[in-house]
Amino acid sequence: MMLQTAATAATAEAYIPGRARSEIARKAFLYAILLVVAAIFFVPFLWTLVTSFKTIPDSVNVTLIPHPWTTAAWHEIWTGYSFGTFFKNSIFLAVVVTACNIFLGGLGGYAFARLRFPGRELLFLLVLGTLMVPDQLRLIPVYVMLTNWHLIGNFSGYILINLVTATNLFFMRQYFLTIPRDFEEAAKLDGASYFKTFWRVMLPLALPAMSALVILQFQGTWNDFFWPLILFGQGNPSHYTIQLGLAELHFSYSTLWPQICAGSILAILPILVIFLVFQRYFISGIVSAGVKG
């Protein structure tokens, strides 16, 4: 709808008499700029993809066609440098953390949006207060706590501290507030329990909000570098995520460009696939999360 208004603005401008020629020149100029800018956005990825099929001596040549063409770098990182394991670790953490965030964020968001209980407003202030606590401040205490509980260097520690974020809970709460109460009243008359009302009625109604959160949370966890570095970086590489594995590969073998490029593509690929499929949710999610939060 909003797009339409912008489009009308453009047409309104084009109707002015005597503007036709300058309009064509303007369009040509616009496309020229667009193509140059698009090239700046594409060339790095394309170049990385090309290099991942090159040999090491060939990786310093400015050629678009690998010579010889080889998939050696891909084989090498997947097995030799354990990127297969890292990839699985990242998928596992991203799926579990996203599922926990949706469930607990939804549950908490529903409670704060709809259920009346003493101290609700005060507790909600606490939820918003967590947004003020930055990672560099909680880094040391969280590390000390997890060390004491022997949860450093294993997945449960990472999952535990990422079970739910205030942003996700807030986002879900805001969405639940927009759903008319009639749906719950109907469920209540049918004798549905509070959990059943949440699970069977409210959560399905919040599907658009959930889709945006699933995508943003999955992407956030997949791309996370800071906490995996803190929690797994000192320990056994069998727990590395793909981002940590890629960083370590670069630190240890800074000239293995084909391997590093293959690793980089692998670290981006799942997000690219999700992005291509769910673009709509990415863009609406970013804008509404930003505007509201």
Binding site: E13, V133, V142, V144, Y194, F251
Partner: protein, 306 residues
């Protein structure tokens, strides 16, 4: 009279059942909110206090060490030239990257807001680097801007841009402006689309040129968006870490040029194993960001961002 007493019993029964319903609702409310509240309390609110506590002790990898409480960790941080350098680096970076992000983001938004073929494709293409992994993007940049990388081959130079002390800050500024401009574009795009069409129609009827229309009408009308981007991306820039860590291998080099305050906290903890100093640096930097946020809110942020 008799009727009142007769109806009294059901009424009180209704009242008790309503009380029961109230209690049940409150019970479920607590039950639903319990897990999130526990997570926030345990891993956000409690660590906030715990960080302050740790910052007043000699604290190593094995825990609190003898020596009692004091402000010595704060003295160490505040007198450490490396911490000063880290603050200077992040200030330079922020002052460099935020205007560039705004300029690039706004330019892209203006372009993809036009009636052009493949508009959605270009939007997606410009946005994609924002969501790609920072580690991968940084390693790709290291490859392309390497001394014998693609960029130097094209311009005929051999400067390793990301590993030279004098260029690395600006190289990271350029890199991050490029990656985040897509997100900034989306915010500007939303703002551009909320400007009423009539405004442009009036300008067009007056024969105002496109350039003039932009500076006189569009740019001032985007004020809320400018403030929003300035505040959100300004704070974000102060927290930069991944790029400097990848570029320097965590060392903050060459010659401390990639040391940021967060890298300082990391290094104090995991290179020197001095958790007291790390916690103190975390607290100091929290205060710095907090004060800057308040100042921003009071000055530029006042206008309708919240």
């Amino acid at each position: 009279m008799a009727t009142t007493t007769a109806s009294d019993a059901p009424l009180s029964r209704i009242r008790t059942s309503m009380l029961g319903a109230r209690l049940r609702e409150a019970g479920w409310g607590y039950a639903f909110a319990l897990a999130p509240i526990a997570v926030f309390g345990l891993f956000f609110i409690y660590p906030f206090g715990y960080a302050i506590y740790i910052s007043f002790f000699h604290w190593g990898i094995l825990g609190k060490q003898p020596g009692g409480a004091g402000t010595f960790n704060y003295a160490t941080v505040l007198h450490d030239p490396v911490f000063h350098t880290a603050l200077k680096n992040v200030a330079e970076y922020t002052v460099g990257v935020v205007p560039l992000e705004m300029a690039l983001g706004l330019s892209l938004a203006l372009v993809v807001n036009q009636k052009i073929r493949g508009r959605n494709f270009f939007r997606s293409a410009f946005y994609f680097p924002s969501i790609a992994s920072s580690v991968a993007i940084t390693t790709i940049a290291l490859y392309i801007f390497n001394s014998d990388g693609l960029f130097n081959r094209i311009i005929g130079s051999s400067t390793p841009w990301f590993t030279t002390a004098s260029t690395v800050t600006w190289a990271i500024v350029g890199l991050n402006a490029w990656t985040t401009s897509g997100t900034v574009m989306l915010f500007y795009l939303a703002a551009l689309q909320s400007i009423p069409t009539e405004v442009y129609e009036a300008a067009a009827l007056d024969g105002t040129g496109a350039w003039r229309t932009f500076w006189r009408i569009t740019f001032p009308l985007l004020k809320p968006a400018h403030f929003f981007v300035l505040v959100v991306f300004g704070i974000g820039a102060l927290k930069v870490f991944d790029q400097q860590f990848i570029v320097s291998g965590g060392s903050g080099g060459p010659n401390y040029s990639t040391f940021t305050p967060i890298l300082y906290v990391y290094n104090a903890a995991f290179q020197n194993f001095d958790f007291g100093v790390a916690a103190a640096a975390g607290v100091v930097y929290f205060v710095v960001i907090f004060v800057l946020t308040i100042i921003q809110r009071l000055t530029v942020g006042r206008q309708e961002i919240a």
